[in-house]
């Protein structure tokens, strides 16, 4: 064995991961073959993108699979006892995304074209997963600086409020020089890190102390402040950024984590009441919210205007039926809006496109993959050594799960549609890289032999004194 620096390499085989990766790779190769065969059958037809000149069919997929294999090798070489399910599961989702992007009109993304750009971002995401999964050992950099992270997140949000570029009526994109991205994607990770730090430190107090208000048992009053602040941040995201999806995601994850930590239904009831009140007020006063809800209630009222996307998505699911039309045989043209096409399909409606081409069976399999990610995350949380890691792992997996639910349910007209991305499937660099970061952290957290947590800080100062005054 060769030494690397001072640490020696101790490769540890990951047989489960290898087997699952092999199955996923085989499935993707068959899917790619099916896509190619469909294209050849009907070269003039729906698959407007077509294989690009100078690039053999399936070439993008081959590069992607090589990337997955490299990630596996990196994790083997790191030799840690970490989770072996997440990488293949996420890899399969990313591969499905690649197959979808390859067959959409390539001019949706400038420069390289949709498929290739997506491949670059997917490789970056896989690289993040492997890098963090292999190298991130301690968690002090997250644990000790939670307020710094929170300040950074709020700063990012404010920057977007002020300097954000408006795209499709939503002020989401922040461009600094050549870099541009959607901060709300990164913000969800920062939110979880902050909540994990805050809740793990104050868990004992939140569980025991309470203020009675009629039949409701509220958390102790000083601790209501961060909750109210979060509620306000969620509302301001809706009003200023017109980003319903992110607001819903933040608030849902916050309530779920609060319940995970305290096991008190009353907090959740309270949060839902606050949500209902906020929702009613927003519906009255913010036109953007009202439009979204009205479309949800009856998209057919304006099926050629505001409700067009949703109506076409419903038609797509209906065309798909149980087995689907087959990869490459759907009608998702986007650019010229022919009948049947869905605007913004590659970012907001990939679930509807997959529903059309893979049918109910395929869509259920995709939802199953997201459930697997959630289950692994909660298992990692249940076996974590201390509260911070447990809450962090639970929060990270719930972020992915809730986000997938919000957009999938929006596509299906189960809840009002919001412009949020489907993790690992939607087109977009910010989304793919952040979700790669999330899964990488989950893999790193699953290592119980990792560095012990740093000693807790004594400075609980003011709150501790309040508690001491109240305690018998």
């Amino acid at each position: 064995m060769t030494g690397v620096g001072r640490r020696r390499l101790h490769p540890r085989p990951r047989r489960r991961e290898l087997t699952l990766l092999a199955i996923a790779g085989l499935a993707l190769v068959v899917g790619s073959a099916s896509l190619e065969a469909t294209r050849r059958l009907d070269p003039t037809g729906s698959s407007a993108g077509g294989p690009e000149a100078g690039f053999p069919p399936g070439g993008l997929l081959a590069v992607y699979l090589a990337g997955l294999a490299l990630a596996h090798v990196a994790l083997v070489l790191a030799g840690r006892r970490t989770d072996q399910i997440l990488l293949p599961t996420v890899g399969l989702l990313g591969g499905l995304s690649l197959l979808l992007m390859e067959r959409l009109p390539q001019d949706l993304a400038g420069g390289l074209g949709l498929g290739r750009t997506q491949l670059v971002w997917l490789l970056g995401s896989i690289g993040l997963i492997a890098g963090i999964g292999a190298f991130a050992r301690g968690d002090a950099w997250l644990r000790l600086y939670k307020y710094s992270w929170a300040a950074f997140g709020v700063g990012l949000l404010l920057l977007t409020f002020v300097f954000g570029r408006e795209v499709n009526g939503q002020r989401l994109t922040l461009a600094i020089g050549p870099l541009s991205g959607q901060p709300s994607e990164l913000l969800k990770v920062i939110l979880v890190v902050f909540l994990a730090g805050y809740l793990s430190e104050n868990r004992a107090l939140l569980v025991e102390q309470s203020t009675r208000l009629g039949p409701l048992r509220l958390p102790p009053l000083p601790y209501l402040a961060p909750m109210v602040a979060l509620w306000a941040i969620a509302l301001s995201i809706v009003v200023v950024q017109r980003d319903l999806g992110a607001a819903l995601l933040f608030f849902a994850v916050f309530l779920l984590l609060l319940y995970v930590v305290t096991a008190r239904a009353s907090f959740v009831v309270l949060g839902l009441l606050a949500f209902a009140a906020g929702g009613a007020v927003l519906y009255e006063f913010v036109p953007h919210v009202r439009t979204r809800v009205d479309i949800w209630v009856d998209p057919f009222a304006a099926s050629r205007a505001a409700g067009y996307q949703v109506v076409q998505a419903l038609h797509a699911f209906a065309r798909g039926g149980i087995l689907g039309t087959g990869l490459g045989a759907g009608l998702p043209e986007v650019g010229g809006l022919p009948p049947g096409g869905i605007p913004a399909l590659h970012t907001d409606f990939p679930f509807a496109a997959l529903g059309e081409e893979l049918g109910l069976i395929g869509v259920l399999a995709i939802l199953g993959l997201y459930l697997v990610v959630i289950e692994r995350g909660l298992r990692i949380a249940a076996s974590a050594a201390d509260d911070f890691r447990a809450i962090l792992a639970a929060g990270l997996s719930l972020v992915i799960g809730v986000q997938a639910f919000i957009i999938a349910a929006g596509n299906l007209k189960l809840i009002p549609l919001t412009g949020i991305t489907l993790p690992f499937i939607s087109y977009g660099g910010s989304s793919l890289l952040t979700n790669g970061l999330v899964v990488g952290l989950l893999i790193a957290l699953s290592d119980r032999g990792a560095e012990p947590p740093p000693p807790p800080q004594a400075a609980r100062g003011r709150f501790r004194r309040i508690f001491d005054a109240v305690a018998p």
Partner: protein, 145 residues
Amino acid sequence: MDGTVLSIWLLRLLFLTLLYLFLWGVVRVLLRDLRAAAREPGAELGRLLVLASPTGEPAVGAAFSLDAVTTLGRDVNNTIVVDDEFASGRHAVLTYRGRAWYLEDLGSTNGSFVNGILVEGVAPLGFGDELQLGNVRLRLERARR
């Protein structure tokens, strides 16, 4: 042409089957993992890990499984015997009540500390917190599951 259509159908069905083969493979692993976790005697509520102990009793690195009530002190009748010259005979008691951990100091001579703060009466604890009795430092950790 018929052959092409047929092969496309076969490829489509094969693709969907493989998706479910993957899911089946994952679920098998998950079930095995959950069963293994269920078989382990998992009655412990938490663990107490010894971080520092000048006298070697308890030994550094030792981990104690915790029940709902754990007494700590120099006396041999304690659940965890802390043989340190600055520890009292009946020094402190660690309890799990409802959903949270508490450390109660039993009127020890030199006091008990949680994360470096002197415990007056009862102090709530979370997993990851450090206790100190005399020169012995311990960390409360979640049960291994």
